[in-house]
């Protein structure tokens, strides 16, 4: 076994992670390798030094000091209540809206509305533009007739003449 692999075995041995045969292999190597023996001693010393003799206690009145901080943060985070409950309410409110819309569509009787002329054309599957142009043309004729009448009246009165006459 190579010394590099042994170092990993030494480290793992302190965590009790070695299998029986790995343990035996390690011990066998250590018997004949003073360098790895030194490494093991160094690891032992290191891990001992890492363990605190007495773990320090938290400073006194920990909760008493924490409580006002919590209260203060709550005051500055009114939306935290929204975060807590509001987010849960979103899907619920969406469901309510969808249900309401479904009720309106399904159960409310349709309003008897009078259709506009273009809507009527659309319903009759006609081309509204074509129909409208006919109407406009008709209106145009009427306008022309009216203009002729007025022009004739003005001619009789000897007043100004219009540039386009027939």
């Amino acid at each position: 076994m190579k010394c590099k692999k042994v170092e990993r075995f030494i480290s793992r041995s302190f965590d009790g992670l070695l299998k029986k045969e790995e343990k035996e292999e390690l011990e066998e190597h250590l018997k004949s390798c003073p360098l790895c023996q030194t490494k093991r001693e160094e690891y032992q010393s290191l891990l001992k030094a890492l363990k605190e003799k007495d773990l320090p206690e938290a400073k006194p009145y920990f909760w008493e000091r924490l409580q006002p901080k919590l209260k203060e943060r709550k005051r500055y985070q009114p939306w935290s209540l929204w975060k807590q409950w509001g987010i849960r309410a979103i899907p619920l409110s969406m469901l309510v809206v969808i249900l309401l819309a479904a009720v309106i569509v399904l159960f409310l009787p349709p309003k008897d509305e009078k259709l506009s002329q273009s809507e009527a054309f659309l319903l009759r599957n006609l081309n509204p533009l074509q129909e409208t142009s006919t109407l406009l043309e008709e209106e145009g004729l009427e306008n022309k007739n009216m203009m002729l009448i007025f022009t004739a009246m003005e001619e009789n009165n000897g007043a100004r003449r219009y540039p386009y006459e027939k």
Partner: protein, 191 residues
């Protein structure tokens, strides 16, 4: 009252239930922060801030996982943020304790040995501070706090293989840095 019940009540905003949880975990969280900063005042502030974050994050906490593990994760992240802002420590002065640590075991008396052991402990903890963050954290969780591999993998969200190799690299790094100061007779450890 069971911990899960206390957590459930705390989720509903019951401060009394939360105070019981704080009293149960305050020392552990303070120790974790202290082992990573070596500063009592800062460790106290970080532990308090971790509990505040936990309190406001409780609505998101799933009762399926352990509260302690979740709290450890919050504290680790809190300390990591602080360490990133502070920046890595560059130098440590070991000259004044070098001589004591290099005393041979048989040359030193009992008092001197105890003193040297204390100085070595201080030195080891100082050297940890200059290690990269991820190695510092895993050493603290495993070798200082004594948490199990299972707990560590859950707190850091890493696989057991990653935890194993990261811990080995961290210990190796520390051993190499401290090799001249590590005693020939370390003490009793499980083999």
């Amino acid at each position: 009252m069971e911990e899960k019940e206390l957590v459930r009540l705390s989720k509903e905003g019951n401060e009394e239930a939360f105070s019981i949880l704080v009293k149960k975990y305050k020392t552990k969280m303070f120790n974790l922060a202290f082992s990573l900063t070596r500063d009592r005042e800062m460790a106290d502030d970080l532990a308090q801030e971790a509990f505040i974050k936990a309190y406001f994050a409780l609505p998101k906490f799933k009762l399926k996982s352990e509260f302690g593990t979740w709290l450890y994760r919050i504290t680790v992240n809190q300390v990591k943020d602080y360490l990133r802002k502070k920046g890595r420590m560059k130098e440590i002065s070991i000259e004044n304790i070098k001589e004591i640590l290099l005393l041979k075991e048989d040359e030193a008396g009992r008092e001197e040995r105890e003193y040297a052991e204390e100085q070595r402990r201080k030195l080891v903890h100082q050297v940890i501070q200059v290690l990269p963050e991820k190695y510092k954290v895993i050493l603290s969780l495993r070798d200082i706090q004594g948490l199990s591999y299972g707990e560590i993998t859950k707190i850091l969200k890493i696989s057991p293989g990653t935890a194993d190799s990261r811990l080995h690299r961290a210990r190796k790094m520390l051993r190499k840095k401290l090799a001249p100061f590590l005693s020939q007779k370390g003490g009793n450890h499980e083999m």
